[in-house]
């Protein structure tokens, strides 16, 4: 009998060992690291001074906004129709390759498909493998090319949904309404990182805090995490899972549309790149003459990135800012998307999309209001105008 029990021993030990290994792995991932202490201003200066010329890495975006999960597979799913809400729910992985200010490639890794954005000098390509279509844009070469070879946000990558672009959105908006503190250092993408915490001083916003993880070696932002009030898990996070600061293969930036693909030529767009994963963090509280595309908090998907935006109105300041779009300027996708229509709730005078982080109010007269505030504040902003 003792012998029989001995033979069951591996069956007991191996699962135990595996469970232990999995546990240790998850504990190590969350372990804090010790770095020489720095003040918030020193870290901000480090971000401003960063001298990264090229990188390749993998970015994971997770959104927990309390929206219903959108099915991405199954019968009746038309490719592209879900894009607006799809990027606001669940988790998405993308690979990012950057080299100098004029070369960039972003690959959104979908299940059995891929969406690619390639920028090389004045050429920009968008390729969608799901329907084998390519879109070509000629973008003006950024004027500051010769000036500095470092990757800063004024370059073509500004529209790319990378942690550094998102971080610079938030950092550029730091003013008296934001309290900046230094949090506990952590490990992001296998690198030790300082954590910068931005806490709104206002009570009117849905944002509880924004934390930015900054690589301790290069000062490159590695991750952005937005927490909403009254929600334990982060409402939105965008972070590298691996990153490498050496130049990627140059051939990656040479894109020729494959034979048989539908190629569309687009005129020079208003903005350099359609931001595919522009989430709620795109609604950075930018109260100093915000770029129109930066404040519309709903991702417009790839189908309508070229809409001209008349100047939107901004009510309130800092985190409480409410952006209003005049009638007729809202992307058609906002009203015609069946999945989005399901998520919208009727309110007096229109319909509202309420998430834990961002609210959108679509009035019956066509005006659209959005902000990182509860929806009743949007309504009061709408009636005030």
């Amino acid at each position: 009998m003792a012998r029989a029990r001995q033979r069951w021993l591996p069956a007991l030990l191996i699962p135990l060992a595996l469970a232990l290994a999995a546990l240790i792995g998850s504990v190590q991932a969350g372990a804090s690291v010790s770095l020489p202490p720095k003040t918030a201003n020193e870290i901000l200066a480090m971000i401003a001074r960063t001298e990264v010329h090229a990188l390749s890495g993998t970015v994971v975006q997770t959104a927990e906004l309390g929206l219903p999960e959108v099915p991405t597979a199954g019968p009746g799913i038309v490719p592209g129709a879900t894009s607006a809400l799809e990027l606001l729910t669940g988790s998405h992985t993308a690979r990012v390759y950057l080299d100098g200010p004029s070369k960039a490639r972003l690959q959104i890794l979908d299940r059995m498909a891929e969406r690619d954005f390639v920028v090389n000098g004045s050429d920009a390509w968008f390729y969608n493998s799901a329907d084998n279509s390519a879109t070509h844009l000629s973008v003006p070469v950024p004027s500051n090319t010769g000036q500095k070879d470092s990757l800063r946000s004024e370059t073509t990558h500004a529209g790319m949904p990378t942690p550094e672009a998102m971080a610079s959105h938030f950092l550029s908006a730091i003013d008296s309404s934001t309290e900046v503190t230094v949090g506990e250092a952590s490990t992001v993408a296998g690198r030790s990182a300082y954590r910068l915490s931005l806490v709104p001083r206002s009570d009117g916003t849905l944002v509880d805090s924004v934390s930015i993880e900054v690589d301790s070696e290069t000062g490159w932002p590695l991750g952005v995490e937005v927490r909403a009030k009254g929600q334990p898990e982060p409402a939105y996070s965008l972070a590298y899972t691996d990153v490498n600061f050496s130049a990627p293969d140059a051939a990656l930036f040479n894109f020729t549309p494959p034979a048989g693909a539908t190629v569309t030529e687009k005129p020079v767009p208003i903005k350099p790149l359609p931001p595919p994963m522009e989430g709620p963090a795109g609604a950075a509280p930018d109260d100093s003459a915000p770029a129109p595309d930066a404040v519309v908090p709903t991702p417009q998907g790839s189908s309508s990135p070229m809409l001209p935006h008349p100047s939107p109105s901004v009510t309130g300041k800092g985190w409480d800012a409410v952006v209003g779009l005049p009638a007729g300027t809202a992307p058609a996708e906002l009203t015609s998307n069946p999945q989005l229509a399901q998520a919208l709730q009727p309110v007096s005078g229109g319909r509202a999309l309420t998430t834990s982080l961002v609210s959108v109010l679509i009035l019956d007269d066509g005006r659209v209001f959005a902000g990182l505030v509860p929806s009743d504040r949007l309504q009061s902003a709408a009636t005030a105008q």
Binding site: A4, R7, W8, L9, P10, A11, L13, I14, P15, L18, T58, E69, A73, G74, P79, G90, R95, Q107, L109, R111, M112, A113, E114, D116, W125, Y127, S129, A130, D131, N132, S133, A134, D249, L252, F255, T256, P257, P258, A259, G260, A261
Partner: protein, 250 residues
């Protein structure tokens, strides 16, 4: 069973060849619309079609039959009369199941490549990233995909072996293995069970698409291999415990 598997790519190729209406991009299995332009896609399309059901089905039959089949035929005790030991028998049986996994995926891939060469023009292959690679590299990628799928099926084979040690009725073990593979895939599609997904043995089954990106993303290959190794270790240990303490009556 291998013949049935080989029929899948041939049927796909014939159906696409004979249908007058070109397939709409984005509908149907991956790459179905590209087959007419490039025969090399037949193999990949066939593998995509086979992964959710046909391959688990055949692997379930083979793995479920390993021990229970011998017990049912009454040959198990004669096998154990030889001084080879139960551990060795278990290992040999598992090796047989693994060999079948290799043969099954290789059959689908080879039949697909053959059907593609016969019915359609061959040319450079477009990857998911929109980049184009030559014929030689595309054959290499097809082999990598076949290897990926073989690795994916190893965990299921181990589960089949384990179930097979618990019963003398081979049909029961086969059915249980196949049902488990379907249940695992259904659970993998329920967003409410997201925490469970990385632990399901079918979670990475369709991850071989990562091998069709430029540059190749090896993350899912590694994760898949690790996961399947975990299943092999756990199921192997359980099967060892059961089989070595079992009273062999038939």
């Amino acid at each position: 069973m291998l013949v049935a598997l080989a029929a899948v790519p041939i049927l796909i190729a014939l159906a696409v060849k004979l249908s007058s209406r070109p397939a709409t991009p984005g509908r149907g299995p991956l790459f179905l619309d590209r087959i007419t332009q490039n025969g090399l896609f037949v193999a990949v399309t066939a593998l995509v079609v086979c992964v959710p059901l046909f391959l688990p089905l055949t692997v379930g039959v083979v793995a479920g039959d390993t021990i229970a089949g011998e017990a049912n035929l009454g040959t198990l005790r004669y096998l154990l009369l030889a001084p080879s030991g139960r551990i060795r028998l278990l290992l040999v049986k598992y090796a047989g199941a693994v060999a079948f996994c290799c043969a099954a995926t290789a059959t689908v891939a080879a039949a697909g490549a053959l059907a593609g060469v016969v019915f359609f023009p061959i040319g450079p292959v477009t990857l998911l990233s929109g980049d184009t690679i030559g014929v030689g590299e595309s054959v290499l990628r097809s082999l990598l995909i076949a290897a990926y799928i073989t690795v994916s099926l190893l965990g299921l084979s181990a589960i089949g072996l384990l179930i097979s040690t618990f019963t003398d009725v081979p049909v029961g073990a086969m059915a249980a293995t196949i049902v488990l593979s379907v249940v695992s895939q259904v659970l993998d599609n329920l967003p409410q069970l997201e925490w469970l997904h990385p632990w399901l043995f079918s979670h990475h089954w369709l991850g071989f698409a990562d091998l069709l990106r430029q540059p190749v993303s090896w993350t899912s290959f590694g994760e898949n291999a690790l996961l399947q190794a975990g299943y092999i270790a756990v199921c192997g240990a359980l099967a060892y415990g059961k089989f070595t303490t079992k009273d062999i009556l038939s």
